[in-house]
Symmetry: D2
Subunit: 252 residues, 4 copies
Amino acid sequence: MIKKGSLLILYSTSDGKKFFVKNEETSFSTHLGIVNITDNLEYGVSIKTHTGNSFIVLRPTLDEIIMKIKRHTQILYPKDIGYILLKLGLRDGDTVVEAGTGSGALTISLAYAVSPSGKVFSYEKRKDFLEKAYKNILLSGFQDNVVLKNSDVYENGFDENSVDAVFLDLKEPETLIEKSYNVLKTGGMLGILVPTTNQVSSVLKRIQDFNFNDIEVSEIMIRKYKLVPERLRPEDTMVGHTGYLLFARKMI
Amino acid sequence: MIKKGSLLILYSTSDGKKFFVKNEETSFSTHLGIVNITDNLEYGVSIKTHTGNSFIVLRPTLDEIIMKIKRHTQILYPKDIGYILLKLGLRDGDTVVEAGTGSGALTISLAYAVSPSGKVFSYEKRKDFLEKAYKNILLSGFQDNVVLKNSDVYENGFDENSVDAVFLDLKEPETLIEKSYNVLKTGGMLGILVPTTNQVSSVLKRIQDFNFNDIEVSEIMIRKYKLVPERLRPEDTMVGHTGYLLFARKMI
Amino acid sequence: MIKKGSLLILYSTSDGKKFFVKNEETSFSTHLGIVNITDNLEYGVSIKTHTGNSFIVLRPTLDEIIMKIKRHTQILYPKDIGYILLKLGLRDGDTVVEAGTGSGALTISLAYAVSPSGKVFSYEKRKDFLEKAYKNILLSGFQDNVVLKNSDVYENGFDENSVDAVFLDLKEPETLIEKSYNVLKTGGMLGILVPTTNQVSSVLKRIQDFNFNDIEVSEIMIRKYKLVPERLRPEDTMVGHTGYLLFARKMI
Amino acid sequence: MIKKGSLLILYSTSDGKKFFVKNEETSFSTHLGIVNITDNLEYGVSIKTHTGNSFIVLRPTLDEIIMKIKRHTQILYPKDIGYILLKLGLRDGDTVVEAGTGSGALTISLAYAVSPSGKVFSYEKRKDFLEKAYKNILLSGFQDNVVLKNSDVYENGFDENSVDAVFLDLKEPETLIEKSYNVLKTGGMLGILVPTTNQVSSVLKRIQDFNFNDIEVSEIMIRKYKLVPERLRPEDTMVGHTGYLLFARKMI
């Protein structure tokens, strides 16, 4: 059964239109009639509107969830998320610490990576951000894998210990390298996202004060193509920059 | 306990050297003495060589496994794997079909994404490739999530039905679009990797004969930076091309 | 003296505003008063408006001219122009053939490269394009280095012979490779701009029928940065694609 | 007539092999016999070896000259040179100041841009660099457009005034912004090449102390393709980084 409050897709078999619906509404109006959202929906079932048109219920990809959540902070792109999850090497059952929560886009992604049995502890100083992020996490259906913490990590640090990974996505990550090192287990991965080259320099400098290894600084770029087979060419514009990624593994 | 036959890392706490070892050897020689590989190793434990030097046992990341397996086919890069897994939207319990197996790099990655309870059915015509791929999969420890099939998919197609995703990484994917469409469930994702623009055109053309949606053609590029904070700059050379990625979702 | 009809810049020394003015107007109105454009203007001189504000007369760069001309065809970008001129190896006194003229952006650039004593012969089938291009060329001041020809090159080919370079920027350049080869002198350079990969394939295939050497297919990408020294980062969006460039040198 | 001491290409009409020869040798040995280099050679002529094989004399492009000169400093790439010349907006007759000379690659390019009647004043502290650069400039044939100066610009600054452009390619360009500003005429262009982001930040910060306009920071990337029309794809590796380019125009 589809989790209450999570996002589902209603896909029209007549004209291919897609609607993203919260599994909490009792009905949803479309240009092809009203769809009743019943309690025991399953992905893949077909349901009819009151005017007899068919819709299929689909499970959204992580990608689609991220793109549909409400953002009050900088966007996190699929190109970056995919690489972050791979480099952190997260698996079912792992424990990961994140700061800050922001809109929860990465929180959802980390929860997805450690599900079904792992946990993400996500720290955010601003209570209003945390409340909005929680709503987004509900949409993803991964709330059981997330613990949100309303705390200032610059002041208070992290409560956990010996975690598999730490991810920092906030303004001054260089001031949290020591706290991150201490909360990681041996072999655990640190990941950091920063938008500017000045921050990369600050973080790189600070990382070298600790026993980290396998350090990498990189950017991921995606180039999309127009879908015309006989006139194949990249799209006219592309995303020029989202952020720089840093990874390092705690050794000793 | 660490799975028999899977890859582990021996990390020297004296000089930071890393060794990738198959958990099957009974002993492993290093420049700091011989390490006994016992039967009940756990990640994170510290073991001593016969000369008294310490090594810590670490779990390799997916990234590291992929980079360490023996390849007889084109390399698959982390930048691409991360994005593929995200776009396919795979989760614990999903079923995915892959052709061909090649060296098993993507097989391992797909298995990782659907573990602990999902399955990857991977097809490969060449028996010698399959045998080598199996050895690689053992290194990853994900063998329980993989079913290898020695069959020519161009001839015989796929045995499964209603799978969550299909991934094609072979020479003429355009001839397998119909078979892929048929084996996918509604809402299931098709992913394809091809090295040339001519193949992109052929696949795009063929995809439009079926009821696919959310079609995307893209390339992922990674740009790495030198690790010098006060002289930050990208590395002198970068990977110029691995392949073009195509994604599409089956819509009834 | 500044050429009649060519573009000049009026730069306000009070507030830094720039105006692009055709040296043909007798007066030009600004927010700081009316500037009289006299007959014997020189670059670098300072002139006053009727209200006593100063403007300096500047020579526009090729880059600025290209960006200011009126376009009825696809934009040609400085990143591509710079590389094209370099690869064609044009110098003062050279002769170059171009098809088609389009908006004249490349015509101006080629004329700039062969000036003061060289010539560009530019072919365009559409008379309306040619008239608009001529106006643009007048703005650049390089009209003495350009001969515009209203002719269909697919039908009629080129009138010149033994030229230093040929540049093709039209839909089916693969049908003009033979004509281009014939009009080039030994060692002369062929340059081609096409937007799609399919055209690259067609041209590459055809080029191999002739005795060309030093063949190159490439793309030029430019990534611009925000001008904030303490928060240095690339701009959020960038140009994703303009076109593919092909170069080849006629041998014997 | 081809300038004494400049580079020419001997191109074999039998097998397409190319030799770069200094027009100063009296004879040149090839696998197809010895070529006599006579005093009055012209580009395009055909000459025979002592065994009767034909070679054609070709003029090298700027691109080829740059690639053939002897380097003792970092390489300057065509992708960057093309864009630099365009942005500086140089023309026949212009005056430009350069520091440092390095191997002379950019000196040659600037001389090419202001030829036949313009001048490049190029400063270099190290006498040994200057001597090697001079030999390279001779190869290009543009020596009449270049004045080399053996002086430390950090100490002594520039002797010229009211020049059309200044180009800085040395370690601490931020310390030369004021001197560059002073030597430029109103509307003149400043160009700077630096390899690191830290230098970009330093220069950007300093530039803002002066009345510069039209400031741009950018990188040029080139992606080359394999020459196989039916299997079109980018090359496996590409240049990841050469340098960051900064441009600014002196106002008032």
